[in-house]
Amino acid sequence: MTVVDLMSEAKMNVELRSKAIEKGRYELYNCFQCMRCTSGCTSMKLLELKPHQVVTMVKLGLIDELITSGIIWTCAMCLKCTERCPQDAAPSDLITALRNLAFDMEANVPEAYLKVVSTVLEVGLIQEEQKVTSRDFEVYDRGQLNLPKISKPGEIFKNNLLILLTPEED
């Protein structure tokens, strides 16, 4: 995945840049492009993610391009970039902030992430309790494995989570 025709068309969006920067706790401007992040990036080989470029693009205010290209969803969140960054630019935190911004703007968030959100709102957990199959093809639930029953969170929890997930009006 690549971000195409970037320099020819893209314009700096200062407003969105401040929004992206507000959402995190990184020292973005300290990045001196040493590329330690990219050299250890899990997604670099397969999906061409280059965290040092993401940092630069945010500095340049090219936020729309980052969000609509889908490149921010190629990160595996292994967090090596943030661990190894000598300047506390924390690229993985920046990518998380950009994902949050994409969600607020309803822009190109992969369907599977939205589905997890609605399941957590509905069930409280990422999925309902599953039956599992052993290697001998026997099917078991928690009770059959002598595990205690799960008690789920109630309505107040769901309402509070929904409030937090609703984007604030400008």
Binding site: K23, T42, S43, L46, L47, W73, T74, C75, A76, M77, C78, L79, K80, T82, E83, A90, T96, A97, R99, N100, F103, V109, P110, A112, Y113, L114, V116, V117, V120, G124, L125, I126, Q127, E128, E129, Q130, V132, S134, R135, D136, E138, Y140, R142, L145, N146, L147, P148, I150, S151, K152, P153, G154, I156, F157, N160, L161, I163, L164, L165
Partner: protein, 290 residues
Amino acid sequence: MEIGVYWGCMILTSQYAYEMSLREVLPKFGISITDIDQVSCCGTPIKNVNQKAAIYLAVRNLALAEKAGINELLVPCNGCYLSFSEALHYWEKDDTLKRELGSLLAEEGLEFNGNIKLWHTVNFLHDKIGTEKIKTAVKKPLNGFKFVTHPGCHILRPSTIVNVDEPEKPRKLDNLLKALGAESIDYPEKLDCCGGGLLLSHSESALTIAGLKLKAIKSLNVDGLVVSCPSCKVMLGAKQEAVGAIVGEKFEIPVLYYTQLLGLALGIEAEKLGLHLNQSPVDKIIEKLT
């Protein structure tokens, strides 16, 4: 001693073997488990869409733990461990966050004071119980066994937030293996990610990443791969066939939780440790041990 446990979604809803094995092994060291009612998701998947909501989920679970009288909490899943550590980190520093989330917690009659010590399985066994105690408790030593370990990303990084082990040269899981009499083989791909974080958006690439790791492990001819995270276990264990199909290899690598291996070494029956639920061929290990 008593310890609270927050199991997390993956363990509670499908990775039952991790829960079964922990419930079996901890009492052998005089530790009893306190469960927490009405817990929710830890916040990890929600962090991708809204960081504040993720912190709410984390502190709500921690507040429930405090309410249950827990001051030391074992969090066996790497993802949940990072989510809670991060929430604690920001809670301490951000008074606005404290006020806003505090009032949401109050609606459920909850309050979070931040007086909770977090443990992950790896540092709880290694630092709290200790390898010497484990060594003494072993009834069936795993002599002659060779394993590789996969500590997983989120108990190591970022080291400003989590400190289960050294971020770039983790040794605790290896030390724990040695305490059982087994050998732990070092390999260059040890710190490589399982790919789990990409499963939702780029599933084929996620499986390929797992495949690259499994290819490297296959070439080492070890008895198995030892993990401590439910997500890594799914990627490298349960999905082994799918991963093999993507990278054009046949994998028959036993993948199991350290707590399952510990249970075997303590003389606990395989079925009680949920070993019949592992989708990878762990029978090889059980047979070799008997």
